[in-house]
Amino acid sequence: MSDLRRVFARIDVRLALLLAVMATAFSSLLLAGFLAFATVESLEEEAVRLDDATRVLAAEPVGAAESTTLARGGFSFRVRDAAGHVLESGGTWPEAEHMHGRVSLAEALGADAADWLVRARPTPDGGVGEVALSLRHFVRERGELAGRALVVALLGLAGALAFGIVGARRALRPLRETTAAIRAIDPKRLDARIALRGTHDDIDALAGTTNEVLERLAWAFARLSAFSADAAHELRTPVNRLLNTAEVALTTTGDVAAKDDALESIRETAQALGRTIEQLLLLSAGDEGRLELSREPVELGGLVADLAGLYAPEAESRGRTIELAAAAVVLRADRGLLERAVANLLDNALKYGVGGPIRVGVESADGWAAIVVEDAGPGISAADRSRIFERFVRLDGGRATGGVGLGLSIARMVARLHGGELAVGSSALGGAAFRLALRRDVA
């Protein structure tokens, strides 16, 4: 029984409903067919009795009125001579319009209690013997048969209805369970998952999809709350510094130069804080899709050369050089955002690519162009390559190099807003190679 139930449970909902509809239709047809068949059969039995009686009458037409066969059988009869005169008769002879000769489905279903079935046979002396059988008995039997069939049909209907209701409830139970499970989801319990039944049907598909959505939501929530925690931490440090410096300055009396130094330090910290907040706002605008790109034709070679020019003196002051290998490629992009992204990559190359040159290039291929920034620093280990684009991640762990670790997140966001990607690999120079790829299809 439990095996059967398991088999039932494994049947696809759509298949089960189809089977139920087919079974109901098939049994209805069967019942109707049986009813018709039984009715015709019953009429044929009457006809056989009538044929027998007619044969008896035709064989012995004289004295038929005394025949027990005809009297007991409830037949009406008459015997006529060759001229048509009635010689003998018994019972009530029916009106012509109520006489039926054939036995067919139409007669069997159409006959009523006033109808008669009639047979005739020639007699040995050239006359004719006729026998009629009232269909009253047949019609009553037919009525009983129909009544029984109606009872069977009603029982079947009730059964099908019950089966349908139970089946539907059963089929929809996983859906109700899934609905309840989905209703129970709240941000604090995003680790809840809906159990799959292993039936690979629509409901399992829904449960699976819901689980995937939950997975993504849980990931996004975890990321968001980690982001808020990191942001709070990053903002708390400079705010504490501001407070400390201000308190020290307030307790310093008379020393104007010391107070000026404190104010200067406060101003610098506030400026860095402002920069962090501005970066956070830019990232959140990107996250929420509020960042509208103002696309215009941008020549990447020139853009990169201009930025290299901006950074060259700074690089030289650190004993470094910027090598330029930029081809002229024009594509439609948001110039301001792209400049910011490339500036972030150059900032990074200057800070982390200790010693050695920085190489900036523009490459292009079918449908793609890429800005590549390489350095000769220690590079980025394979384990860190996915991590460095996350917000507030600094591989040096400290703040020796300044910045809070949002530059690469912003650069990657800019790439993605343009339908591109920012990836990191190894450079022939020995350090990291950042490759900001952009689609050219709207050049």
Partner: protein
Amino acid sequence: MHILLLEDDPVTADSLTAGFARSGFEATRAATRREAEEHLATTRFDAVVLDVMVPDGSGYDVLAALRASGDDVPVLILTARDRVRDRVDGLERGADDYLVKPFAFAELLARVRALLRRPTRRFEPLRMAGLEIDPVHRHVTVGERRLDLTRVEFDILFALAEEAGGAVTRRALLEKVWGYRFEPGTNVVDVHVARLRRKLELAGAADAIRTVRGVGYALDE
């Protein structure tokens, strides 16, 4: 006095034309480069005011054609871009003065009147902090010595000179000289200013650029 005004924005053009009319000038309007060139071919104007960005080209094209034909009518350029390079480019191409949008009409009127008065009608070199800064030729001289400056160095100096003693922040310099609207994580601007200072020092103008503590830089008058 008859002025040609090339300006494609009808609202701005309306208000400027009305302003000129109130001040006793007759102003002819053109909304496209072609219209402006047609007016210039048939009419003699006392001064020309050109918007840089117009639908069918640039005010610079009109200016170039004008100067190529030997016409020395005073020209004032209206530029929406706040980059030193764009303004200096206009002067190099033969404009007599420029004005950065948005501006007050009184300022435009004063500039146009000055152009009409000035006999040479070319942009006067700026003189401050012992320097002579000539954007028309991109020359900077200290006494008799001409400095050899890169385009970026000249633009930094000019951006400071335009503020005439006022402090210019690093961020403003980044925008005026390079056109960038972000703050780099490193002190790239300071290194450029340091290079410019070294050149000024060699020419004997060591103290021309003053560091305004915590703000940026200034060039004193």
